[in-house]
């Protein structure tokens, strides 16, 4: 069965104080539908990726709430897997098509974070960790900082090398009109920024953001209707222990290795076949490790390859995060996994404007929850 993307749309990401969660969702869904040429009544079901609406907004039952904004009383499901909620929603939506239950569904990722204080956000995000981590006074940057320490020691990587991840993604962000941050930064800016959890500094960390993204996917044969169909040729999910400290390695995420290995096999592709990837760079260290776990770089060389420009637009081989990634485009946690798909669809259609990866045919989305406790990998093909 072939799964195609009919329409895709992401809202502006950022501090959207004048927009409600309902309005954000409506904007993403309406525009994705418009792009697909379908009406709400032609959608069989709605899948929603969201992490924090229950904790921050005291709003559960999100599926029922959001079908009101869709304008069609279809079956609706809210799917949660921390920051991988979007990727998980898409995976479940694809499974429903493969099962034959539905033919055409809408997948929405949404998060509204900036309505709440930093302390509320810090606590809410730590709900993705374990009791042991919370009682240790660890924060999310803290958990990734432990990985960064291990990585830097093991592979003799400098803080400046890691800073290059943020510098690259901010450069890409300058080319994306929907990015939260559209200004460049330097290695010195990263090094000067406030320490959050050693060795991670403020500019090693993705921001707190609002945003929504939606895609319409179908199992119907659409070649006649749509000149440039984008296929989703692999969708895989894998998990790992909830706590970082229970793992054998702090410098590789086995969930990512497992899900991507399966995805490459399903797609019949190798890592070197990927032209463009959207990577879950919640912290600079995350992208360095991800490019190794995905097979783009040799173990221990991920950060240095990024520093050399191998993942940068217009000069790299496998371009990572042309959208600006989580760091510059923003990280509304439940929306991120779907935004990655929207970005890849635009790239493969050749509609990415100033940040177009020339000749992009195959794209990979890497969406991670918690400290690598869950990973969703999708491969898209033109």
């Amino acid at each position: 069965m072939k799964i195609s993307i009919l329409g895709a749309h992401a809202t502006k990401f950022g501090e959207l104080w004048n927009v409600s969660p309902r309005a954000l969702a409506k904007e993403a869904m309406e525009n994705a539908l418009k792009a697909s040429g379908l009406k709400a009544s032609q959608i069989d079901a709605l899948f929603v990726g969201n992490m924090l609406s229950g904790i921050l907004g005291n709003q559960a039952n999100l599926g029922s709430l959001l079908v009101e904004e869709l304008g069609a009383q279809v079956p609706a499901f809210r799917i949660e897997g921390a920051c991988a909620s979007g990727g998980l929603a898409l995976h479940n939506a694809i499974n429903s098509l493969k099962a034959g239950q539905y033919k055409t569904v809408l997948v929405l990722g949404i998060e509204k974070m900036t309505d709440h204080s930093q302390d509320e956000i810090t606590n809410a995000l730590m709900s993705a960790g374990s009791d042991e981590e919370r009682l240790a006074g660890a924060t999310f940057p803290g958990v990734y900082a432990l990985m960064a320490q291990a990585y830097m020691q093991q592979y003799k990587v400098s803080e400046e090398d890691l800073a290059c991840v943020s510098v690259k993604n901010h450069y890409h962000g300058t080319l994306n009109p929907k990015a939260q941050f559209q200004f460049p930064i330097t290695i010195a800016d990263v090094m000067r920024s406030a320490k959050i959890a050693d060795p991670l500094k403020l500019l090693d960390c993705s921001p707190i953001s609002d945003g929504a993204a939606a895609v319409v996917i179908t199992s119907e044969n659409i070649i006649k209707k749509n000149k440039k169909p984008i296929r989703i040729i692999a969708s895989e999910v894998a998990t790992d222990t909830l706590s970082l400290h229970d793992r054998k390695s702090f410098t590789s995420l086995s969930s990512v290795v497992e899900a991507s290995t399966k995805a490459y096999k399903k797609a019949g592709l190798n890592p070197s076949d990927i032209d463009v990837a959207e990577i879950h760079d919640c912290f600079s260290i995350s992208e360095a490790i991800a490019t190794e776990d995905l097979g783009f770089s040799k173990k221990g060389e991920g950060a240095r390859d990024i520093a050399k420009g191998k993942r940068t637009l217009f000069k790299g081989d496998i371009i990572c995060n042309p959208s600006g990634g989580l760091k510059a485009c923003g990280h509304p946690v439940g929306a991120t996994g779907i935004k990655q798909i929207v970005e890849l669809a635009e790239q493969l259609r050749g509609e990415a404007g100033k940040r177009q990866v020339e000749g992009a045919r195959i794209g990979l989305a890497h969406n991670v929850g918690g400290s690598g406790t869950i990973a969703a990998i999708h491969i898209l093909q033109k």
Partner: protein
Amino acid sequence: MITSPVKLWRRQKNTATLIGKKGKILQWTIIRVPAKSFMDQAPYPVVIVKMQNGENMIGQLVDWQKKDLIIGKEVVAVLRRLRTEHADDIIYYNIKFKPL
């Protein structure tokens, strides 16, 4: 953050068995921007400790100096007040680690 008395009571049984157990630092970081309830202790290290029984634990390091932040440093599990509670919350004691 209000602690559930039941949850705390259930957890305490295990906490008591850990006091005095030793291990070595496997990895460390210093938390500089914590949650509000840990704010008065910041900056503080969080360490992953390889315990003598082979299990890994994560915990806060107390009574520390910069020279203690090295991999392989021996630490011992001690009982300490966890964080700053809300006025009508239970005072929570938990395992933290102290350099030896």
